[in-house]
Chain length 300, copies 2
């Protein structure tokens, strides 16, 4: 099998990992954690979300986090931005890249954003245009690509239609999310075949959840199809609200472990990353689902 | 990518899952659990080990378990057999298949069995000959194929040499074990390429551990190379003694989930399997590492 020589990992733990957590992490701890992550070799960190605090109280300190962190050379600091108000705050926080988001599933988009996908596209276009004016690049998350908790199967035609609309706005990268962690390698192949017929591999990122243990298996298929950007969350932080107690995002350290063992370069120092995972696990006060973190703790 | 249409899963939980556990599971509970597993559609269950009780006290009731379980039609009931004395007991217990075992790593074999690999081969040949006389098929486990806790890398030449010796004895199947859960998909490809140049895909089974989250990723590669037999342990039961607290065997339900989602038939009823996993988790009194089990518990 043929694999890429190097892969870029985008750390989403400080945003996607924390956003659904009922545990409040102090602002100074968020800052300390992001600074630790900045020193692991990771070149991209999504640090927070500029969503209204009413919706994501766990990240209500977005502006303080954005202003408080060190800016390491070579690291892109991104944040989730839902609308123009969020973008204003993100710009005030000195963010490098604005991440917009929507669901491929109509029902999930409505439950999550309270708008239709058509209405959402309209808002995201405005955010994208304004971000461009402020010289920010934009990344789009398309969630529930591989399954929806309400609609179950999401038609590939819908994924293609929304992807095309987002790229037409001028987003630089599209991250396809397996929001409920239900994807399998054969499905990843089918979805990527359809998308890679329209877009290039370097426009697409994959955002897997390990809810059912398939995150790295799905990644193998994506790697074989030429994908070189993957989202990860330190410690596997980020539970899925539809399956409490289960694991959420693919753990960055599990991704790095596998890639480095396969001689695919990530530029991430695994020991430093594991130390950062252990640190945030202690702050969370509960065992995180990352596999490599448990090995690390038992051997260190 | 091309995948097999169906896969056979060999359940090793009652043996490999329990053997290193400090928790004593009552004989009647072991029997009840195996009977539950027999009704899931699994066609192969390794029920215990006829190793001297001094070495594996958790399975000191091997003969009672073997005599106490129901025998479901179409299910092969296997047991681990280290030597001729073990085989006598296994025969008394009415076992269908004898599983022999050794390490690919010289040091691990010595620490585990207290013999050189050459001495072990001699004993396994005798066990195999005697099993054949009693009309039992034999399966061999070769552990530490993908890495050793003492020697780290295990030369592929050593794996090939021992595999050839075991097949010359007349074993029907060789199960390659990633004992420390350190394998990666690229390595699985390298090892299988070497072995499939000498043996057919239906002679080889893979026995992955999910210690570092790579079990299903490794499985994807093995499936792509034509392997159709995989070992699993319900609940992911079976900690690795070298990494306490970490996960051990690939969870049978995680394997079944991924395969069935890929439209690869296993003949296993996932709901019944998850119920059996939940049942043994309650008996163990601690959370088991299986991903699908946690989703099942939160949604049932």
């Amino acid at each position: 099998m043929s694999y890429p020589k190097k892969v870029k990992i985008k750390e989403v733990g400080p945003r996607d990992g924390l956003q659904n957590e009922p545990i409040w992490i102090q602002t100074e701890d968020k800052i300390a954690w992001i600074n630790q992550l900045s020193r692991t070799g990771l070149s991209y960190i999504e640090i927070t979300s500029f969503v209204h605090p009413k919706w994501i109280p766990a990240l209500r300190d977005a502006i303080d986090v954005a202003k408080g962190i060190d800016r390491a050379k070579g690291v892109t600091y991104a944040a989730l931005v839902p609308n123009q108000k969020g973008l204003e705050n993100a710009l005030e926080g000195g963010i490098d890249e604005a991440c917009v988001f929507m669901s491929a599933s109509e029902t999930h988009n409505r439950k999550n954003i309270n708008k239709s996908t058509t209405e959402t596209l309209h808002i995201l276009k405005q955010v994208n245009d304004d971000a461009k004016k402020a010289n920010l690049s934009t990344r789009a998350y398309l969630s529930t690509v591989f399954g929806c908790p309400y609609e179950k199967d999401v038609p590939i035609e819908q994924v293609i239609r929304l992807s095309e609309a987002l790229f037409e706005f001028g987003i630089s990268e599209l991250s396809l999310g397996d929001t409920i962690g239900a994807a399998n390698p054969a499905q990843v192949e089918t979805v990527l075949e359809a998308l890679l017929a329209r877009f290039t591999a370097n426009q697409i990122a994959l955002h897997f959840h390990d809810t059912r243990g398939t995150a790295l298996a799905n990644m193998v298929t994506a790697l074989q199809m030429g994908i070189t950007v993957f989202d990860g969350s330190t410690g596997g932080l980020g539970g899925c609200p539809y399956a409490p107690g289960s694991s959420g995002n693919a753990a960055t350290e599990d991704i790095v472990y596998m890639l480095e063992q396969m001689d695919i370069k990530t530029n991430v120092n695994l020991d430093k990353l594991l130390s950062a995972a252990k640190w945030i696990e202690e702050k969370m006060g509960k065992q995180l689902p990352s596999r490599n973190l448990q090995v690390f703790k038992s051997s260190s």
